[in-house]
Amino acid sequence: MATERADVLVIGSGAAGAALSGRLADLGAQVVCFEQGDWMEPSNFPTGPDEEAQLRRRSHSFSPNVREQPQDYPVSAAGVDSPEVEMLNAVGGGTLHWNCGFARFHPSDFRVRTLDGEADDWPIRYEDLAPYYELNDREMGASGLAGDPANADETPPLAPLPLWPSGRTLARGFNRLGWHWWPSGLAILSANYDGRAACNLDGRGWYGCGLEARSSSANTYWRKALRRGTRLLTRTRVREITLDRRARARGVLYHDQDGRLREYQGRVVVVSANGIGTARLLLNSKSTHFPHGLGNQEGIVGEYCMFHVWAGASGIFQPLMEGHRPTYDALFSQQFYETDAKRGFLRGYTLLVHGVGGPLGRAQGVPWGARHHREMRRRFPHTITVLAVGEDLPAKVNRVDLDPSKSDSNGIPGARVTYAMSENSRRMMRHAQSMARHVLEAAGATEVSVFGPWTGTSHFMGTARMGRDPRRSVVDASHRIHGVNNVFVVDGSSFPTGGAVGPTCTIGALALRCADEIWRRRQDWI
């Protein structure tokens, strides 16, 4: 078997793998990244005014179980509330099909146990991550506005994107209630930046800004990392991490583009394959030292899986709202983010004033036949949607494990998700529905309907979590697997708790910090 060598082997090219690879390349490490997917050609990407229709095709599905491409792996759902997960296996990973929300966690998110008596504290503080949040903002080209009273110290490099009529209308609603709101922090360019063109404000389609304006790991970190010599091996799937006799990583066994099994040796191995893929790889990496999977000596790899919970409300307004114009969440409210015991649940949620999408999406639920046009005209473009994303507290019973009945194109067992939504989450989402209705009515909606709750489908968190106690965590504060000196895990799986904002901003910041930790200890591996 042919063997190659590098300083650092990174598995996964998404938000974490890209940021970490780019940072380590900057610092001088020789990095090789393995990505089971390929580069995604922009012309192949569903975008434009008929994007909603393109996304209905099997080949563009967000679900790997529907898409069933060779680079995908099956993810079965076993629990009562398990979601049909969405993920994309390509260079850039989940950052190729995301809302571009780029909000940071609050300082309290890192101290849930201390403040609220539930779950676990992170082994790091907000202040430890703050410089990396700033660096990540610059690398990704974040837009937003400083001075938000609900967030610590954000100073995004670019101005916020427009609010549009729908955002301005809801802003007045929030003001009437005396509630917080703020223009969203987004990984979408509001001005030309770093060689990429600003959002063209086309206002049609989820990706309606133009693909270059929407930041992804592919069009930010990877462009620079490749220029600095990082090697990115696409269409290669890592089968397992191999260990030497001292229980240190020796490298990885992977399938090359032709399916042949090969070995790559590395001084350090970093797993960044997302909260499902990372758990799957660790569980598939069985050895005499770790018969139940790498890092799984306490049996908690895959456990404490979190997804975020969602609910919301839609309001119909008589004036034109052009709710499709913001192809992003134009503003948010964190009036209900921090715990308030009087509400009947712990933790909280963010309200997002959400782009409602195009007419095809709005037509869902509109009756067919003679009344169709009248009803459609009432709804489009007169609708505004308020979405709530709520913190999903970790539970040991919610987990990712292997599904021996299904395997990927290389014969490696697939993943299985077992999940049930907690009563705390349900109470939180009922509150969120009520508050979403309240603000829509305060803004002038003539008809409001609520929806949800449902389990999120794309934020995979907690399955290899950070912590100081090896009995309750998989990796330490430096992201190093307890008991294995040269294997690191950084991505959504590292989160001990999930906050109530999209995880991508925090994943990128953690990866940058992890890269610095790896470099700081380089005397251990050079």
Partner: protein, 167 residues
């Protein structure tokens, strides 16, 4: 030099080329034209589905995507069977009131197959540029809110700190 080597290593992007199929049968095409105009008729100043090219859109879609053809054929064949069961005639031979009644029955008795026909009809209508122009789903626009964003934010800026400090 390293970058050049990486560029060589990067494989050429592989476009997704859908498998092409034979498309809809002529019987299915005739039935589909009637179905889409029952679902989205010309009314209230808006054109019927067949007037904006929805049928042609679906025919092309069925040719490009075998799974779409299969789903349309499934829906249409269920509609045909229900029509024969109820009035002893295929859907294409029914009068306009009978067609409406047949679709209402299908919605009740075969909701999954009915949903396929309805969803494809909506897709074939709301992806037509002529419809976009009529409903206000048009191109780029220049927002005008910058002048009042600061005014709207003024009360929020006066709020006390909302996040909890952690020692």
């Amino acid at each position: 030099m390293v970058a050049q080597a990486c560029a060589r290593l990067a494989p050429a992007p592989r476009p997704v080329i859908p498998e092409r199929s034979a498309g809809l049968s002529s019987e299915a095409r005739s039935a589909l034209r009637l179905v889409i105009d029952e679902m989205i008729p010309g009314a209230d100043g808006m054109p019927a589905a067949s007037e904006v090219g929805s049928l042609e859109y679906l025919e092309q879609l069925a040719r490009d995507h075998p799974e779409v053809r299969d789903e349309l054929e499934t829906g249409l064949s269920r509609l045909r069977l229900l029509s024969i069961d109820d009035v002893a005639a295929p859907f294409t031979n029914l009068s306009p009131p009978q067609r409406l009644q047949a679709l209402l029955e299908m919605e009740k008795r075969a909701p999954r197959e009915f949903g396929l026909l309805r969803d494809y009809t909506y897709e074939a209508y709301y992806t037509r540029p002529r419809v976009w122009r009529l409903i206000g789903y048009d191109g780029p626009s220049v927002p005008d809110e910058h002048e009042d964003r600061d005014e709207l934010l003024a009360p929020v800026r006066m709020m006390p700190r909302l996040y909890r400090l952690v020692l």
